[in-house]
């Protein structure tokens, strides 16, 4: 499946490339779109809908939490990260839960990558 520019901006802010000396790989270019095709095929509809809602909310509501105009794709990298961090720290539990959904799905892909596993010392 193809991700929109805003979706890609959300995911890139969540896991940027080159931001850590051990985990240099970011979500971009890691094959996440191919993973999503399989994830969509196998996941329960409720989980898939929650993931899509989480992406949309992060893209359009997240910027408002840091007083920036949405969508997130128009923001600088720093503001994108601030928007997601604000969602994760929000007093509104539903916003926090959506970040959790995003991170869970991204982790299912990222944590299974051989390069990532090697970098963190997973046998």
């Amino acid at each position: 499946m193809r991700l929109s520019r805003n979706d890609a901006a959300v995911l890139d802010a969540l896991l940027p490339a080159g931001a850590n000396s051990v985990l240099t790989l970011g979500i971009a270019g890691s094959g996440f779109e191919a993973f999503l095709i399989e994830f969509h095929r196998q996941s329960p509809p409720r989980l898939w809908r929650a993931f899509r809602l989480a992406l949309w909310t992060a893209g359009w509501i997240g910027p408002l939490l840091v007083r920036r105009m949405p969508p997130i794709g128009r923001l600088s990298n720093i503001d994108r990260a601030r928007a997601l961090a604000a969602m994760e720290d929000s007093p509104v539990p539903e916003l926090r839960q959506l970040v959790r959904v995003l991170k869970t799905v991204v982790s299912l892909h990222y944590g299974g990558l051989p390069a990532v596993r090697q970098a963190i010392g997973y046998p």
Binding site: L14, L23, E38, I120
Partner: protein, 477 residues
């Protein structure tokens, strides 16, 4: 398709398989119906995604309803949750049994000695022993060190494994069949003696004619039962199946109990090698009497570890990168809460809200577990509660205990589920009688943890197996 058997067992987890194993010694014609697939060992993966998709209900994303959802983890494959649990074998605590006797009037129906003797026999059949130090790995070793330094009671976990290599993969299916889960033990035993296993077959309803259960309508056809139908579909699915079958009781689906819990992560300077060693090899019982919390190690795979760590971007990556120098301990809580399982507009509905007494207990347990992490040498501790600093230093642990009473602030999960078709000596107080038979029927039995009148405070696998065995003994008598 219609086939006829003496007994039809619905569910192939700890309860259904134990019942099937006992039943084939009574009569050879036994059918076991399993909703999930049969996944052979060689198809187990060390990746979480395919494992969750094939082995878990709802890909491991089943949630309770409401503003503070709790993850409810269940296996959904041949062997049920025994394929994805950590092989922990704990006997029914005598103080829990005393509650069953005193509050629920089940002392005579379920004598402690009977449950304990059945447990001992199962322990022997499934090669249960303490986790040897050779497969502890760093995570279990650190908890052992904390127990010694604190003087809090702790021990190596007794597990049903043979030849464990410490691959830390219990929760995605043991790659070498070391874990004595049902699909490599009791189910083959039953199948060799004539039992038929129907996988990818959902039980739609039990067919009742008057007081008699005559068979089970499954997605694969009708399975007629000459003698009895035994339901062991889990504390979530059993009440829903009974409801679809026309069973009515004000207690059906109610009294849903569990052990909601959460994890803390210790960040160490030294290598812990989280991905090596027994998945859950050490436990602390010493906090149970004070906090109703048990502390256990858990070797999480990278995917689960990453998903549970706080932060986004650079901060999140930094915690992920510390995987090999992290220890993960989990704290299942013996909750006071009772919830409800039903079928709502959107399908399965699990209502469960923590009792007001639960969060103070959990926070005390979290604080004490965090203190133990520091005793073991942690530099910082991650305690994923909204409102707390992401990384706690030793001098900040008081913040945990003074934390919020809002349950949505806690990242909770539970996998031990009980009570939705509970047993009672009084007809008006439960769904099944002391003979495990659904009241108002002659031969429809519930043999899984749905019948447990309370939660246990310890891992229930062995008690579930023992109760299923007792149920078959009653049925045979």
């Amino acid at each position: 398709m219609t086939e006829t058997f003496d007994y039809v067992v619905i569910g192939s987890g700890a309860a259904g398989s134990s019942a099937a194993r006992a039943l084939v010694d009574l009569a050879p014609e036994v059918a076991v119906v399993e909703e999930g697939p049969s996944v052979p060992t060689e198809q187990f993966s060390d990746r979480a995604f395919p494992s969750l998709a094939r082995l878990y209900r709802d890909m491991g994303a089943q949630l309770t309803d409401g503003r503070a959802p709790i993850l409810v983890l269940q296996g959904r494959c041949l062997g049920g949750s025994t394929v994805v649990n950590s092989a922990i074998m704990r006997r029914l605590p005598e103080e829990v049994w005393a509650e069953w006797r005193d509050v629920h009037g089940l002392g005579a129906a379920l004598p402690f000695a009977g449950i304990d003797n059945a447990s001992a026999a199962i322990e022997s059949e499934l090669h249960t022993a303490s986790t040897p130090e050779t497969v502890w790995g760093g995570n279990n070793r650190l908890m052992s060190l904390a127990a010694v330094r604190s003087g809090i009671a702790g021990s190596a976990i007794r597990r049903n494994v043979v030849g464990c290599r410490g691959s830390a993969r219990c929760n995605v299916g043991c790659p070498v069949d070391a874990k004595q889960s049902m699909q490599v033990t009791y189910l083959p035993y039953a199948a060799e003696r004539g039992a038929r296993l129907f996988t990818d077959s959902r039980a739609e309803r039990v067919e009742l004619r008057g007081r008699r259960a005559v068979g089970v309508q499954t997605t694969a056809g009708f399975l007629a039962a000459r003698r009895a139908v035994l339901v062991a579909a889990s504390a979530v699915e059993t009440p829903r199946l009974l409801w679809r079958s026309g069973v009515r009781s004000p207690h059906l689906g109610r009294h849903f109990q569990g052990h909601p819990g959460m994890a803390i992560v210790g960040l160490f300077d030294e290598e812990v090698r989280l991905g090596r060693g027994a998945t859950q090899g050490f436990e602390l019982d010493g906090l149970r009497s004070d906090t109703r919390v048990k502390v256990e190690t858990l070797a999480a795979p990278p995917e689960t570890f990453f998903g549970g760590m706080p932060g986004v971007g650079r901060e999140w990556l930094s915690l992920m990168a510390g995987y090999a120098r992290s220890a993960v301990w989990v704290l299942p809580l013996r909750s006071y809460a009772e919830g409800r399982v039903s079928t709502g507009r959107w399908g399965r509905s699990i209502s469960f809200r923590l009792d007001p007494r639960d969060l103070p207990n959990l926070r005390r347990g979290l604080r004490q577990a965090a203190e133990l992490m520091f005793l073991a040498g942690a530099r910082e501790v991650v305690c994923p509660v909204h409102g707390l600093p992401r990384r706690l230093r030793a001098d900040q642990l008081g913040l945990i205990e003074s934390g919020t009473n809002d349950p949505s602030a806690y990242s909770l999960a539970m996998s031990h589920l009980f009570g939705t078709a509970r047993m009672s000596s009084r007809p008006e107080a439960g769904v099944v009688g002391p003979d495990f038979c659904v009241r108002g029927t002659d031969n429809l039995y519930v043999v899984d943890s749905s019948v447990f009148p309370t939660n246990l405070g310890v891992n229930p696998q062995l008690s579930i197996m023992a109760m299923a065995r007792l149920a078959v003994e009653r049925l045979a008598a």
